[in-house]
């Protein structure tokens, strides 16, 4: 079957080795991402421990409803991504393209809500450190520090989402051209791993930023 021989890269002995290698490669890359975000989380944990009142006050200034909505959007996108991988495994080109496209839309929605709604609101209200900060009430320095972390962490996360959107676009184009088959769907699987990982980062960001604010 020509598609399976064309699918095997020269350095590998068989398709199984190729598939295992590409999955392992992505997992190793995700380990680097754990450490990358880990540095940020470490700094955040530290400062939250020292400046709890300020960080709680900052957290309360975030909109939980929008945060929860975004979490739901991202979880949906993980579902559609998993279903896309499944479609690739079964050779269902139409379903694959549809699910990839849905994932892309949901990812874009997330970024739009984050940047267009939340960030814009914070900027207009004067809660954007270094750009437009106007609050000088009690504990304002620590609240500003909280927002520094808020913008850095969600910003770097959003950057990863945008990269993911780019990858999805490439995959949709490739899927449209029939490049994937049950013998060769590594790229979809591996992109899925990346996408789910970015979701996992948000799974931790959401409570740490939005939910530990003592809203009671």
């Amino acid at each position: 079957m020509h598609s399976s021989t064309a699918a095997l890269a020269e350095q590998f002995d068989d398709l199984q080795q190729q598939q295992e290698a590409s999955s392992l490669g992505m997992w190793v890359f995700l380990a680097t991402e754990v450490m990358f975000f880990g540095g940020l989380f470490t700094a955040y944990i530290l400062y939250r421990n020292f400046y709890l009142p300020g960080f709680e006050a900052g957290s309360r200034l975030l909109n939980v409803r929008i945060g929860a909505l975004n979490t739901a959007i991202l979880l949906c996108s993980s579902l559609t991504m998993a279903l896309a991988v499944r479609a690739a495994q079964l050779g269902k080109k139409g379903a694959l393209t549809t699910f990839l496209f849905l994932t892309l839309l949901l990812g874009l929605a997330f970024v739009a809500v984050k940047l267009g709604l939340e960030w814009r609101h914070d900027y207009l209200e004067g809660f954007a450190p270094g750009v437009h900060w106007t609050f000088h009430g009690p504990d304002w320095r620590h609240i500003e520090l909280f927002f520094v972390f808020y913008f850095f962490m969600t910003g770097i996360h959003a950057l990863h989402m945008v990269v993911g959107v780019g990858i999805l676009t490439a995959l949709i184009l490739m899927a449209g051209r029939g490049k994937f088959s049950p013998q060769r769907y590594n790229a979809v699987e591996v992109a899925g791993l990346y996408w789910h990982f970015v979701d996992i980062v948000w799974i931790f960001l959401y409570p740490l930023l939005y939910l530990i604010g003592g809203r009671y």
Partner: protein, 109 residues
Amino acid sequence: MVDHVVSTKLYILVFAALIALTALTTGVSFIDLGKWNTVAALAIAVCKASLVALFFMHLKWSSGLMRIVLLAAFVWFAILVTLTLADELARQWTPVPSSWEAQIQQQVR
């Protein structure tokens, strides 16, 4: 090696669980549990992350090597946090000679 094809039904079940856990964690954050709020939030987050990793990322059906890779990453993150905090939290513990105590009390904090 993932040749295993997961059923749509299982994916949707996992998704439903994730949404439910999100609702739970959001709801709990409005209840005063003191320091347990943080514990609860993190515990639920770990559950959600595990569901995504095991089912969406197929770790449940993957070789041990992939699991070790992810585990190693989290262990290393734990090393970073633990030893950094070990310094930062212990900064104020530095023992001071008693003759210096009086001088320090005088300094305005």
